[in-house]
Symmetry: C2
Subunit: 554 residues, 2 copies
């Protein structure tokens, strides 16, 4: 990489802090743009009915001619999930590691994008040239195989982006994180480090994935006389490998259940990331041919997702699996913040069915804790620190680690979506803002549900709706039919007949006042009905249902 | 207590497992009933718009003549919150400790129930006779002062009920739990132990409340140059005491903020449970007279409750307090399961305003962990174990502790709401079931929102509503007006004009088919409209809004 003292690099997160999970960051230098990751966010609690949130890519459209490619750090949804949506609008090549590409390919196939999308698999240690950029893929560890950090060499200087990572000295598969390479790049001089903040509030060191294998092995040893069902993240291939290892050791057949479990493990297995002894894996339908204590079911649903396999088993609505007293159910996972109650519900339901439920200490995180972050900062020794991945509290905690290690406060940047950070080896500052945002996806609709619709849904959810309909005669304003009141989600009408009669009287009175005064403006009539009925209902019930007057003309 | 070998005791939870928090249990023996606690539950996530849930007291109404009184273990909402609702229907005397009664009195005053309700304050160590029962109040420790365990002596035998408790050898105020008395009663022979299961999954011992005081003191020492704002549970009087102690030591004025904080601390202070040095407490309006670093604000909102004081400060909508960069905000609390995301939102907002937020290790639980439960079992040595307080998973964990200590599995009972457990010193079994349930309170409405209304709210929340209105001529079925479609919470109509036009055409077609066939049954017409529009919308959007056809006659 030829350094150019005039060159400046722009780093522009197109999602992130305002849409957690929507990891997509543009790197712009001279005539080139490289985009790191393309994730989607899951809806916040107040986004009623929304399935997922994808990035607004106005900036990419406006600068399409400069874009050299997507560089993807690993195969989790918050890093690859929005690719099909974006690729339908913009044809951009994809560069990533083998397993990550395998998972992306599945998405592209489903969306008919395989033929049109250029894809290139990169190995750890390899570099690719994209315009004025050179991008090097560095081996890291994470809760999915084939995760990469990136060294992004630009004419303005070098940026190291950790991706999601942890330091695992004894990984289950493949190599430990390439700490030597981090050190080597650091030694040569790094302009900025962008590092994973997810666990920046947690002290110490994240335990090795292989410690979970020992725990699982002990559980298999202790529960040799019961069926075992283990829920975990489908994408945690190493976890599944360790379960399979214990199953093989104790002579159990393994059944995979849940669509994403079957898909991801299928892909990982085809690509050689999983070593399954012959005759170990059997189909769900064959489970009846083996005694329960000689089987183990690996399933989705560790987060209490209502439609996932384990949740359906717990609710006793799974087509093929019935939980029996004595079954051992293991959650090899921790609840992601926000999922605690859903997970607890499933645990209670499984208890109800007589199963023994084990959920403590059968999981380790895939993200670096404070001591690991300190290690990476110390190896890379960046001039500037740009915490990424996490909520503001996590980014601030990561920033605190950076300053604690001697990076001046002014050299630490917490970027908002759309912030344009311009930097070279001497200086860095936020020089502008590009348009960004989250686009809500509901069913097939992309972007047709906005704030007004969500506010209405929230209102409807809280107190329901009262609809007032009436028909007026053309010109005369004579009432031909109604006013009738229909309500949904407000009160159980049979129990509240008196209330509804009075509500009707209130509307009639309000309407008569309008007609007596010869008010012919329907907007005004609606407002009067809405206000008077709203006031009546609030006084009587202390509730504020949505009130929707509809006037028809005949 | 005269033992009667013929007598049998019935224990009947009228809430609990099916409505977590609704702690209310009837003890029935011979001609007497005593009711322990009278709590309310907070709504589950799927109870949209519901404010709280109170117990169905059909059983108490049916057996009113036998009821001798309410015996209340402590002053938390999940043990006293439903009293005003129940006392409006049934006049029952209340027996409890001084602070607990003070908190109950506040509720009775607000509801005009003071004059009609007989109330008697009981001291720890004292007993009261209620019909054939004698009830002894035993000192325990908990996250609120004046908590009691109960020894319930009946002609059939003795039951020890721990209430919510922990073992605190070094409490902030008053005495440690009266372990000697537990041992003494145990030595005399206890039929059943009902013990707090909340922390039964947690290993070890809950730390003493006084350890939090040391942490708080350190934080005051380290932050002498900033304003301090501490959020905690209003009812944790000892926590507030410790904050006041540190404030006094470091020369800060204390301001209480949030309605429940002012109320509870006011009551506790009046009754002598809090020792506030003179000139330490100042009114919120006086805060401006002191330099920020000489003040500490103790506030509600530690659970991220959207209307609480801290949440309003974080959202920058508090009338009187503006968070400034450099403020130190301390969460002296842990998120209660289900509140994690709300708390995180507040932490992020406070970070956004430039405050330093501290939320780790400034709290201890008020509930016994596994080793404390083992201690109580070992002192009381009950024949039967009845885990109480918690979800099924917690009750099962407590049951596991009981059996681990040698209580036979058949002697451990996990009771459902309404189960009638009949027992004496020889045997115990579930002999029946009484009617129980949760009554939903929404605004002023008690019980007028049921499953149908909630299902409608859920449906409205997910996908909104499409209303189809039309006016038919009397007798002729000639269409006078409409069909018109109005939607709310479905799509943003301006963005989806084409869709709405096609939807309208779909309805018109369906209606014409009906009219052509001379279908005059409005129910049938509505069904046809609903089905055809529903199918159209699903095909086009993969959504299922509520479809509500309204036909008027003119």
């Amino acid at each position: 990489m030829k350094k150019n003292s005039e060159a400046k690099l722009k780093i522009i997160p197109l999602g992130g802090l305002e849409q957690i999970g929507m990891n997509i960051t543009a790197f712009e230098c001279e005539d080139s743009i490289v985009v790191v990751d393309c994730g989607l966010a899951f809806p916040e609690d107040d986004m009623l009915g929304i399935d997922l949130v994808i990035p607004d890519i106005t900036y990419l459209k406006d600068n399409y001619s400069k874009i050299k490619g997507f560089v993807i750090t690993h195969g989790h949804e918050d890093h690859i999930g929005a690719l099909p949506y974006v690729l339908k609008e913009l044809n951009i090549p994809i560069y990533t590691t083998k397993l990550t590409m395998g998972l992306i390919n599945r998405k592209l196939e489903e969306n008919g994008l395989m033929k049109t999308t250029k894809r290139k698999i990169v190995k750890h240690g390899q570099s690719i040239n994209l315009g004025c950029f050179r991008i090097e893929f560095i081996k890291t560890n994470h809760s999915i195989q084939d995760a990469s950090a990136l060294a992004i060499y630009s004419p303005a200087g070098t940026v190291v982006h950790t991706g999601d990572f942890k330091v695992d000295y004894t990984p289950v598969f493949g190599d430990a994180i390439d700490l030597q390479r981090f050190a080597e790049i650091g030694k040569k001089g790094v302009m900025a480090l962008m590092s994973d903040s997810t666990n920046a509030e947690r002290r110490g060191f994240t335990m090795s994935e292989s410690t979970v294998g020992k725990t699982i092995d002990n559980l298999f040893q202790e529960h040799q006389n019961t069926r075992i069902i283990i829920a975990t993240f489908a994408s945690n291939v190493d976890r599944v490998q360790q379960i399979i290892n214990s199953a093989y050791k104790y002579g159990r057949k393994v059944i995979l259940e849940g669509r994403s479990m079957v898909n991801v493990i299928g892909t990982a297995s085809e690509l050689g990331y999983l070593n399954i002894p012959e005759n170990t894996l059997v189909e769900l339908d064959q489970i009846k041919n083996y005694p329960p204590e000689k089987t183990v079911l690996i399933t989705t649903g560790s987060q209490g997702e209502s439609m996932a396999a384990l949740s359906r088993m717990a609710a006793n609505i799974h087509r093929k699996i019935t939980i029996r007293p004595g079954d051992t159910i293991i959650f090899s996972s921790n609840p992601i913040p926000g999922n605690e109650k859903a997970v607890s519900k499933v645990i209670n339901e499984l208890n109800e069915l007589g199963a023994e439920v084990i959920f403590q200490d059968v999981h380790v995180s895939g993200h670096a804790c404070q001591e690991e972050l300190k290690l990476i900062y110390s190896l890379v020794q960046p001039k500037f620190a740009i915490p990424v991945h996490g909520e503001l509290r996590h980014l601030k905690a990561n920033a605190g680690i950076a300053t604690g290690l001697g990076i001046p406060k002014d050299n630490v940047f917490i970027l908002r979506s759309g912030d344009v950070l311009e930097l070279n080896d001497d200086a860095a500052k936020i020089v502008g803002k590009v348009h960004t945002g989250g686009i809500l996806v509901d069913g097939l609709g992309v972007g047709d549900v906005g704030n007004i619709v969500l506010r209405d849904r929230q209102h409807l959810a809280e107190d329901g709706i009262m609809i007032v309909v009436l028909t007026l005669e053309y010109h005369s304003n004579h009432v031909l039919a109604g006013p009738d009141i229909v309500s949904r989600g407000f009160v159980y009408v049979r129990e509240s007949e008196g209330l509804m009669e009075e509500a009707n009287a209130t509307v009639r009175d309000a309407l008569n006042v309008c007609l007596d005064k010869n008010i012919t403006d329907w907007g005004k009539i609606k407002t009067v009905i809405k206000d008077s009925l709203g006031e009546f209902v609030w006084k009587r019930t202390k509730r504020r249902p949505m009130i929707l007057p509809i006037i028809m003309e005949a």
